[in-house]
Symmetry: C2
Subunit: 302 residues, 2 copies
Amino acid sequence: MESIKNFKELTAHLAVAGVRKRAAVVCGTDRSTQEAVLRGLQEGFLDVIFVGGCEDIRAVGAWAPYARRVTYVEAATPDEAARAAVALVREGKADILMKGLIGTDILLRAVLDKETGILPKGRVLTHIAATELPAYPKLLFFTDPAVIPYPTQEQRAAQVGYAARLCRNFGIACPRISLVHCSEKVNARHFPHTEGYADIIARAAAGEFGACLVDGPLDVKTSCCADSLHTKGIDSPLGGEADVLVFPDIEAGNVFYKTVTLFCGAETACALQGPLVPVVLPSRADTSASKFYSLALACLAD
Amino acid sequence: MESIKNFKELTAHLAVAGVRKRAAVVCGTDRSTQEAVLRGLQEGFLDVIFVGGCEDIRAVGAWAPYARRVTYVEAATPDEAARAAVALVREGKADILMKGLIGTDILLRAVLDKETGILPKGRVLTHIAATELPAYPKLLFFTDPAVIPYPTQEQRAAQVGYAARLCRNFGIACPRISLVHCSEKVNARHFPHTEGYADIIARAAAGEFGACLVDGPLDVKTSCCADSLHTKGIDSPLGGEADVLVFPDIEAGNVFYKTVTLFCGAETACALQGPLVPVVLPSRADTSASKFYSLALACLAD
């Protein structure tokens, strides 16, 4: 397949490839969640199971044309809804889990429950996002702006692995992955992250993460701008054309996320990876477009 | 005075106020430094002392119209040039120090020399920048994207103090300063920065930094977007109209700096604060416009 370079190409790909996924939407009573789900139904790549808040949701006339593709599971409380949706995933009845108007902590508690949850033992739970920037010629994936505060070496390796796999599902045969840092110099004393980066690069070169090209430390500019790279006289196999930015910690990742959405006119899509199925976990301030793109992205995450 | 909202207003203000500063430019042999200096001469706010590389610089015809405002100090080596420029500052003969085509380490060594340098004992050396973003209605100052890796509490307090003072020099009577963090919740266990933030806010309220309004933890969006603030139900005295973002560490600050310049069409100006005079220390990839704006900003830093 050709690589998917923006969100329009993403939904077009889902249509051409005939992808159809079942999303369990927990407490989908808010408007932006419903708009995102409706658009997924219209585009054809989504079937929906609303779990919790069903009475209010049924009252919305918009579902009528898609009656066969929308089902309802009642739940008395948000907690019960979260557990019921997670159970659907365990039973193989849902391919995507999505948060509606419910506290993140309630949904995550159900996901992470050691007995009844859906995070296999030893799997790293982390957050990945893709952004479509007016000033970049392709999607730029990044991790982790929201979940792991200060990744350990193994968590970072997992982030690289998830990102590489997701990119390949987007048709990027050999994704270019940058381990981001404020400086391009490895300096264990001042910048402890940079030492671990060398180990990740070696593991990537040994094939641990499948086909991909990993380099770093590089800053955002030398990761994504060939001119900056050359001006600084740096030789990087990524060539200033990163597909993925792996941020050193949540502070750096979150600044990137908030800055591109607020100041750069960027669209974004996000999902949690690690659980049995991708989890779409929007923040309150996310637009319905962002939630829709997140559902589309989740269709290619595995 | 009215507050200065963009770089055009900054240079207009310097003209109206009749500001004229003497910049000691170390090894100003590269084109973008010369372009920036020339524009400062043209706009009228700059006199220039070129220190080192004088033969090459004299050969550039552009200085002829400003012959009385350009002087030369010869130096045999970059190290000698750096020391000579620093000496000019110590002798009260230069108001701004600027780096040309010379290693940052060489210039900083001269600045920081305990005997002959220009950083008073006990003063914190830190980096501040201002950015003009197409999507924000005023200048947005931020610190520290480049110098202090992981600020201590006292270093952060100094950053707040410098930023507040610089903003007031820009005519912002009561600057709104955000202590940035990925989450708005104070959480000492997971996010150790956030505990220190409360102390800085208390010190600001007690008047330690002069007139200013400090709040945090806030993320980039809730710092700079009233809608995001309200959607999240957060009550912040900054009202989503921050003048200053104080980043938790160099990783977060550097990501912001590189992201806005690469993806948001932002112009930036930067200077080091702490030494006897502001130091303009551009990075190799900076444009001449950015160097020019940095000189203009340095005229208001003290």
